[in-house]
Symmetry: D2
Subunit: 470 residues, 4 copies
């Protein structure tokens, strides 16, 4: 089994978890969206790392860090009870610290929550969840990109109608369409990777960003905490400088934008009247309808859109929330937590669904050709004009072709037929030395693809370059 397929299977296995509920398989597929238990564990991981950092800085006795780490397991805490106590200060950290203190030996308590304020713990935990989410999303996008690259290679020469404003325009190939998708996915990955590497960071500032209760030792503890968690240490505590959150959210919304564009195009290409692609489905029977046996619903693409269309509003909420007051915001900060979780969740779900979508996509090359031919060569009018121009002059060629195109459209014949059926036109073509073979070549879509092959080659090479680099 290929790695992407194995991963996809792994996700599918995970969905047996009981807490995904009625809609979670649709919009919360994959592990990117943090559950309550994930949040709790991330808060505990932060507290444990801080305890180890405090010990390393000599602020707590030897063994204190290990003692805290040993009990910092979500299954030893009652999330619902912490949630109830959260109303006292407006977040669950104070109750968590109290419960954690109850579990650790007395001499390790000096290490617990040392120097920290609740925002330090929540913001750092959010960064850990973001890192985990990005990793999951990136793995899925990488698999989706590989499948897309395969589609592009397989269909580099599969001619189809290019469509602008939903109207057939001039020929393209499905390979060109696929590298457009590929480039978008790779760009989205590059952005996520950049945010992961440079914009996630530990938050540790104490009550108001001065780490006053640690005296002059604050920066040392902050550096050790960052090291323990494998997160960058920022120049400053960033409690009310939320650009990191905005940029993280924008990168996630960018991934949704790429996937939404792809899914949108799949739904359009899969329309009954177009039928150029069909979903393979992720599970037996997916997309079928017992009442309507002719239907082959693009369920996976639809679910991706059901996820991606929620990203812009969530991004707007997080961006608006960046206007934060003084040393801790009154409400704007609180509005971030679940919103960021939702954005990670829907982005992760869209990414997870994109793997079976692109792995299983069935491409009907014959139908692509048939749809193109249905226009009777009219998509090549521009090309025919160019072919005739040297012999007839540009203006005359244009007028001749335009008139023939009008006749072709009116009578339902092909452009070539319309040109040749008109005696005067046929005579002019003969006089100019343009034969039927020339005309046939001019209306061959494969002969009017311009830079298509070069663009496909370039995009695949760029993709390979990126894939090698990661």
């Amino acid at each position: 089994m290929s790695a992407p397929a194995a991963r996809s299977r792994a996700h599918h296995g995970r969905v047996n978890a009981p807490d995904h509920g009625l809609f979670g398989e649709l919009f919360g597929r994959g592990p990117a969206g943090p559950s309550d238990q994930d949040w709790l564990q991330a808060l505990l991981d932060t507290e444990a790392a801080l305890a180890r950092a405090a010990e390393r800085a000599g602020l707590a006795p030897a063994g204190a860090g290990a003692a805290v780490t040993a009990v910092a397991r979500a299954d030893r805490f009652d999330a619902a009870e912490l949630g109830r106590r959260a109303v006292l200060i407006g977040n669950p950290v104070s109750a968590l610290v109290r419960a954690l203190n109850d579990l650790v030996p007395a001499d390790a308590r000096e290490a617990v929550h040392r120097g920290a304020t609740s925002q330090d713990i929540i913001d750092t935990a959010a960064m850990l969840l973001a890192r985990r989410g990005i990793d999951a999303i990136d793995a899925d996008l990488r698999a989706a990109a590989e499948h897309t690259a395969e589609l592009a290679r397989a269909h580099a020469r599969t001619v189809m109608a290019g469509r602008t404003l939903l109207q057939q325009a001039v020929p393209v190939t499905f390979g060109l369409v696929a590298v457009g998708w590929l480039t978008a996915i790779d760009d989205a990955r590059r952005e996520l990777d950049r945010v992961r590497a440079t914009r996630l960071a530990v938050q540790f500032g104490g009550a108001a960003g001065t780490l006053a209760s640690l005296g002059t030792r604050g920066p040392e503890v902050a550096a050790l905490l960052a090291e323990e968690l494998g997160l960058p240490e920022p120049v400053l505590p960033w409690h009310t400088d939320r650009l990191r959150i905005v940029q993280l959210a924008a990168a996630l919304a960018g991934a949704c934008a790429a996937l939404g564009m792809i899914a949108r195009n799949v739904t359009l290409l899969a329309q009954t009247e177009v039928a150029e692609v069909a979903e393979g489905g992720d599970a037996p029977g997916q997309g079928g309808s017992s009442a309507m046996p002719h239907k082959r619903n693009p369920v996976v693409a639809v679910l991706i859109l059901g996820c991606t269309r929620r990203a812009p509003g969530l991004l707007a909420t997080l961006t608006a929330a960046a206007e934060q007051e003084h040393q801790r915001a009154a409400g704007a900060w609180h509005a971030e937590w679940e919103t960021l979780s939702e954005l990670l969740r829907v982005t992760g779900s869209a990414a997870s669904w994109s793997v079976p979508l692109l792995a299983g996509l069935r491409v009907d090359a014959a139908r692509m050709r048939a749809n193109l031919d249905a226009a009777g060569g009219l998509l090549l009018a521009e090309h025919v004009t160019a072919v005739l121009a040297p012999a007839l002059g540009r203006l005359a060629a244009h007028d001749l072709v335009a008139a023939a195109a009008a006749r072709a459209a009116a009578r339902g014949v092909s452009l070539s037929e319309a040109l040749l059926a008109d005696a005067a036109t046929a005579a002019r073509l003969r006089g100019a030395g343009v034969g039927e073979a020339d005309l046939a070549a001019a209306v061959d879509p494969a002969g009017y693809l311009g830079a298509t092959a070069e663009f496909v080659r370039r995009a695949l090479a760029e993709h390979d370059r990126i894939a090698d680099g990661t």
Copy 2:
């Protein structure tokens, strides 16, 4: 115990429910936000009502409706399992219908899902959840409004600084502030009531809005279904006409707007340096800080803002999702379900928190007066000018007062003192017959309240009128 207090207590009791998790007490307080079980029950309520309607229309044997209704209880279904099967068609209804069929006697199966498509069930269930959510929100807003009206009555004459652009401007009373809040809450309620009464509606159209599988009986069944559920019957199935959802979302976001404005003002009035109001807290110890004993955090207002700031983004998502295709949308519809749930949830939570906020608000009338007096009468400069104008002429009065105000600000004395301390000015005042008592009256904030009392009276009368009507 008053009704609002009892209700508030009831909510508080409910929060012991284990599924609220780490953040649910903060942003999902109260019953307005539907849980998975609520969704499941609403789907089942719709199916049960449809079965009864089918029986009443003679399309199913006597007793079929009751048989379906008897088993249509969420606790008999496995939401997670339905969720897993939902991936086949992109929603859980098909799996639900299958599971429901398994539970009903064979001869009642004719009544199950009769004539319906999955969208009919989901959209109608959403309307039931919206109605339930609005009822919960409305009850909380009604209680909050009553507490606000009490504040307004108690403080109709409590003078404080009116502030524009966060600067003290001219005097108002806290009663006037409170009726501003009251009017906003009442307007939000009026809008929710209107949506509940006129915009919620049953959705029933079958596969593509024709109810074809019911022959000519469709409208009859639709009318019976509406009757069974107590929901209005629309002129047409509204599967891809989503104005109802947009208007519902706007009414919810409007309630958030009203509550956010109030909470924002509470956080501002509660600032250490202003200290004109303080939260009573919803539970012992709420808002306190053991590390910082002087702090009295406005936790409830902060949590309200943590909810309300999420509404605009959710509203944008639902409004954008209204661009739906043909007879069922590919993704836009799916993006609505969880978004609407979230919007109901955060609005419900904000409304629920508003009850203890407004019931417990502590108003410090002495501090209000002290903050006003700290400006040394400068807020009354406009009034002093008006008092002097008849005697001195408007322009001369203006110049005299402006100069005195500048001196007052520079020397840290009151406006009266600045006027009288300048010998030339004092002489002019004497010459114009303006005595110290006149000046004292002119700088008395209570003497420059204009229509304040009338506005408070009017707003309370309007509130009473509405309250009587409901």
Copy 3:
């Protein structure tokens, strides 16, 4: 010329105005979006009405109101100069009042800006512009609705494929599609009318909502001001209660939602491969392409979408801006002005474009039938099953039809052919007394339309009821 056509022409005439610029014909068509001059005039209209109200209240000499009104014409003021001076207080009203005072006779100056603060003038002017905008939008929507009703009447029986998730599902008629559009437009109009009648209101509160400088005369002047402007008088000044703005914005965004849905469907139905509708165009040559003579771009629908897709973000901005501080907001209020203007503008433009879109829409009934027939009766599988069920039993009928449908899809034959070509199946049908004529009837789309005719009738009746009422 019909009234809607005349109106449409009138708009077209107006677009010769030089200030629409490079994009204004596309996204700012029609008069709903206020220009700078419109804003200036609305501010002046408010000041003039206030002067007349002050005179009527006896606060200014006889003739003062008329004197102010006489000079309150935008062409007498320099918007750019007012704009430059606006930076002093953050809005242009103070500079406007100064300039207005310069123009009126000395004894009328008592009437100028009497009792008002700059927010009173701007908010009330915004209400005047909203009323004007709604009137323009409503007139266009009314015309669009009439054209849509005509389409519905003309095509009540024009059979076409109903499509769900962009796949052909079961038959509908284009008349049913059209009444879906009609109902959406009518609902959007009803909402706009409601907002116009009940939510627009004069704003008049003075420096901090007390009208203190008018002593006890404030409410009287407010009532007269409302009367002068023909706007409702609110219970209270609403300076920082912005629900009116939220509701206005939601009604505008609702209109965009309705029009966006329609335009989206036109672009889909106009696709080369579907070709069931085409735009008539608003001007000769619109939608054509000289380079690609076969293309018939749905330019008008595209422009509508270019407008409507901007509404959700603008609505989110206005909703978020409703969290306003104390007696005048520091920034949130300022964010409203241009945002509301933009929302009026794009909604007005979408409404204006909807008139030629719906007036000129060309419906190709033959192509609709051909697209339906291309599925070879498979859309009627549900119906065939229902027809066979009485004779064969429900389950047997289902299995028989499902198998035949699979054969039909695989071999590219019609469902009837697939049923009859199989000897065993044909025998069972004969045995059950189901003849070829029965089958033919069962696969006739016109025979499986359920409540379509009734729904069309109902929706048109409801539309007529509304149209009569206005």
Copy 4:
């Protein structure tokens, strides 16, 4: 005159341009927001560069590029007329090309619009405008950052109250606050610079992204076009891959987020009751009020917020618009143009206003100290406990201080006084060797600043590092 001041003056000069209108000085200050003329020139610059590229590729006679460039000046075209003709195809490019052809010599016409489609021209022009806008924004942000760095240096030791949830918490310095602002501005700049360097790119794909009309010469022309414009050449035409737009928009919205946070804090610190900062104003009289001489409105900060609060909604629109169809989107693309212009405009205006805001900010160190002292040492309770702990034990110290803090708050005395006034407590302190001098040191805010100095140093060093690098 310093460079930033000169730049600020330059902007101010520019605002005399007549087309800024009623609100443009407020929300469209500075050159970042493109006017119609700017758009027209950018379109022409793109066409001219393409003509030169075509000539260099040998596709047009020598001199053609120069001939086109010579006439490609906005003042030779009529934007309003182009706008009127734009309705034919839904954008103004076709009309522009026609008008351009009319102006160039016949033999240069081969170079005009060679190989291009209208989207190529509009998208590339948008990139040029984005580059210009970013340059303007960056210059303003650089100046604002310098002023902020000066504030940080000047006030590194100016002690003030740190505030969380709008309540005083523990001491900070204004220098620490200022480096928080500085870091946010520098991060926003870094993001804009990255987008400018790596995400802006020429768009050139022809009718459907194949450059078919150029045969195999397309990529060569594309490379030359990129070179002519100084824009990166992308791997592929990006007509319906809109991640570049999303990332550009996110970087702009990020700049707004940083500026909005700063402006918000200025409005809070400038409140009458806090009065720790005041705006210097950008022009004589700005922020003053003749009616209310005591008011000093933070007009500049308010205007910044009036701009920045519009960014999240505009960003949401652009992100939602990234779901584009096939080879050219039907509406989503069109929704981008004015939205991107608006986002550039409000970001540019916020950045432009930030220069006088930060250059002129008046910091009242004495008031900062007074506000801190008003809490009577209670902000130092945490510190006092830490000081007493070694002598008394941690728990005893905590209880002693908590009790004293409660007495202090109740009686309105300082924490030290409360500790010493209680005989038993005083005795314990004496017994533990804690003298009055120790207590005085413990309640000195300057003694409880933790890492503040180090953080300020670090952030300024990082700023200098960046500033040197640019």
